[in-house]
Amino acid sequence: MNTNDSAEQRNLPLLITMGAVGLLVLISLIVIFTRGAAPAVDPASPEGVTQRFAQAVIDDDHAAAQALLAPPLSKECTPVSPDVDRGMTVSLVRSDVNGDKATVFVDFIVSESGGLFGPNDYVARDTFNLERVDGVWGIVSPPWRMVICEEMWK
């Protein structure tokens, strides 16, 4: 009886830590599930164009992606395979609009095999450069992972 009590007492710090971890996880889940959906972006804005382009590249829809490029790439484009995987997440960070030029910052979230005890997650920040031609935003140069035309390498 006595030994049992002392064993329980010594277990107390462990139980408290586990409880605290459980509480943190619970709070995080509540925060995530009670948060409203992110506001929709205007599909014609630089962010919107980038979103549609990234979606098309990940879906391997070359025609849809090419249509979002700025001329002359939207007309002439020798297709190359982009370096994307369906397991990859692209997330908008922010955008800088300066007249007819815009830069959109995104995070690529990738789980890559190669760690010692499992995959490594990494977040790589990269940029899309856009230009407005005749009132329409088009992509001039995407991040290297999303290069879909040979001409972009030049």
Binding site: R10, N11, P13, L14, T17, M18, A20, V21, L24, V25, I27, S28, L29, V31, I32, R35, A38, P39, V41, E47, Q51, A54, Q55, I58, V84, D85, R86, G87, M88, T89, V90, S91, L92, I109, S111, S113, G115, L116, F117, G118, P119, D121
Partner: protein
């Protein structure tokens, strides 16, 4: 041929037997690894959904050779070795080491491939079955060797639990590493979640992938710790694994996390240069590590406390060692940062690095100091007086700190001379880093050296067992595997055991031999166990 001659012949081939075992097992391991690797690649290729896979055959010739040439040879050799496995093999070191190496390799590749496949299925990766070959081939190897390890009449007699302890360590590491990933993704999403669009895989697919790895690691850990009984092993590798993986590594990770969190907190309060996103992602990572490593640490220190006295003392000394190193490193960094503030003010544009350094140093000092105080109990110095491990600890700490202090001193000298000769730079800036190290390590050295001296004055050197006998040859019979070790530790002699061919009647226990040697003093001693267990002790002339 009489029985006696047969025994002699067998004894004469003992040395070549050892060599044969190592060579056979080394070849078996190589062939097995080649065959498993080759067949894994072929199976993965067969499952590959890529329509153009017939063009990707550049490894195929190798894989075919590995599978269809190395494979059958491996099976043949293992079959031969398994059939011939006798008592000599079972009590050798080659057999358990072979088993442990294969067990660990196959378990790692098998589970790594399995979790890769399972998590690729949920993350909808384009080629989910890339690793399926590893699951099948190495899974088979693992199952076979697990069976051999537990075979009723052929399991190894020494180091039989080494494989299981390795499995326990692998499971713990996989579970811990991936649990940190799960929490990090969760906290990142909850506290600095995206305020805008995300395309591609949803964030929870990353979480689910990491969760699969974590659960898989937990299953491996649970299987070895509870089912295979590593939990109830006492002493030897089991205690070492618990101390290194469960106490040392987990404590270092947990305390590093706490220190990082503390320094981030100080920067958040007093350093306006810290951006919110850096604060949130840094804190999220630190909290994830703390949340995973702390329970592991606490759990294993409980497990270690239920073990032998030395293991319990080792826990305390490991924790106090981590504490003192943290404290000393922190002090060194604080001195460094303080001197940096002399040359450029901390709040100035170039002071950001020094300010961050200062906060990190203070955090390390605080965390290390608390742990050290709690584990070492400097106010109750006489608690562990006279324990051999404490003496080793003191010598290691003051030895290492003395070496570090001397290196720092030499670095300072070099930098000063270089500055004088080449007339470059601010002296304070050049020497502040090694000076911090010097001050911290000198203090650590001084304190531990003083304690060591004090211990020696209070408890004179324990009488080392006087070596009355140099070499002892025992002729007779013993069933006790620890016989030679026990006699050796009691008498200080180097012990050789020669088994009598007419064995059974002349058995002796180590205790009987030690008591028979009472008062005997000679360089070489022969002990013969005769009929009815009578012991004859013969001191030999030099």
């Amino acid at each position: 041929m009489s029985e006696a001659t047969a025994q002699t012949v067998k004894g004469g081939t003992a040395a070549s037997g050892v060599l044969r075992r190592w060579i056979v097992y080394a070849i078996a391991y190589t062939l097995l690894a080649l065959a498993a690797n080759g067949s894994a690649n072929i199976i993965s290729w067969l499952f590959d959904t890529d329509p153009n896979k017939n063009e990707y055959t550049w490894g195929m010739a190798n894989w075919l050779a590995y599978t269809f040439i190395a494979g059958p040879l491996a099976v043949l050799l293992l079959w031969y070795a398994w059939r011939r496995l006798d008592h000599g093999d079972r009590s050798s070191y080659a057999w358990p080491i072979y088993l442990s190496v294969v067990y660990a390799t196959s378990l790692v590749v098998f589970t790594f491939s399995l979790f890769t496949v399972l998590s690729a299925l949920v993350t909808s990766s384009s080629r989910p079955l890339d690793a399926i070959g590893g699951v099948i081939s190495w899974g088979v190897v693992w199952v076979i060797h697990r069976w051999m390890l537990r075979h009723k009449s052929k399991h190894p007699l020494r180091l039989a639990t080494l494989s299981l302890i390795l499995g326990f360590g692998w499971g713990l590491a996989v579970a811990a590493f991936n649990a940190v990933r799960v929490l990090q993704i969760l906290f990142e999403q909850a506290f600095s979640g995206p305020d805008s669009w995300q395309v591609g895989a949803a964030w929870w697919t990353h979480l689910l992938g990491a969760l699969i790895w974590t659960l898989g690691g937990l299953v491996i850990w649970w299987w070895h710790w509870h089912r295979e009984g590593v939990k109830s092993l006492r002493g030897g590798f089991a205690d070492v694994a618990i101390l290194i993986g469960g106490v040392f590594a987990a404590a270092v990770a947990s305390l590093t996390g706490i220190g990082t969190l503390l320094s981030l907190g100080m920067r958040a309060l007093w350093d306006s240069r810290l951006s919110d996103s850096d604060l949130v992602s840094g804190a999220g990572f630190a909290i994830s590590i703390i949340a995973v490593a702390t329970p592991i640490w606490l759990y294993h220190r409980l497990a270690a406390k239920q073990r032998a006295e030395e293991t319990r003392i080792a826990v305390r000394l490991i924790e106090s060692g981590i504490g003192i190193i943290g404290m000393a490193a922190g002090l060194g960094v604080v001195v460094n940062a303080a001197l940096a503030s002399i040359t450029s003010p901390l709040s100035g544009p170039s002071g950001g690095g020094a300010l961050t350094l200062l906060f990190q140093g203070i955090a390390a000092m605080l965390v290390g100091g608390v742990v050290w105080f709690w584990a070492w109990k400097p106010h109750r110095l006489n608690d562990g007086l006279g324990v051999p491990a404490r003496r080793v600890y003191l010598v290691v700490i003051f030895g290492v700190s003395a070496i570090a202090a001397v290196s720092a001193l030499i670095t300072i000298g070099y930098r000063i001379f270089a500055a004088i000769l080449e007339d470059g730079g601010n002296i304070v800036d050049l020497i502040r880093a090694p000076l911090g190290v010097l001050i911290a390590t000198a203090l650590v050295f001084g304190y531990h050296f003083a304690i060591w001296r004090r211990d020696r004055a209070l408890v004179p050197d324990a009488e080392a067992p006087v070596r009355r006998i140099g070499q002892l040859t025992f002729v007779g019979h013993t069933d006790d595997a620890e016989f030679a070790k026990a006699v050796s530790s009691a008498t200080g002699a180097k012990v050789t055991v020669w088994h009598r061919a007419d064995g059974a009647d002349s058995a002796a226990t180590s205790a009987a031999v030690v008591s028979a040697l009472e008062g005997v003093s000679a360089n070489r001693v022969l002990v013969i166990a005769g009929a009815k267990n009578k012991l004859e002790v013969i001191a030999l002339a030099d």
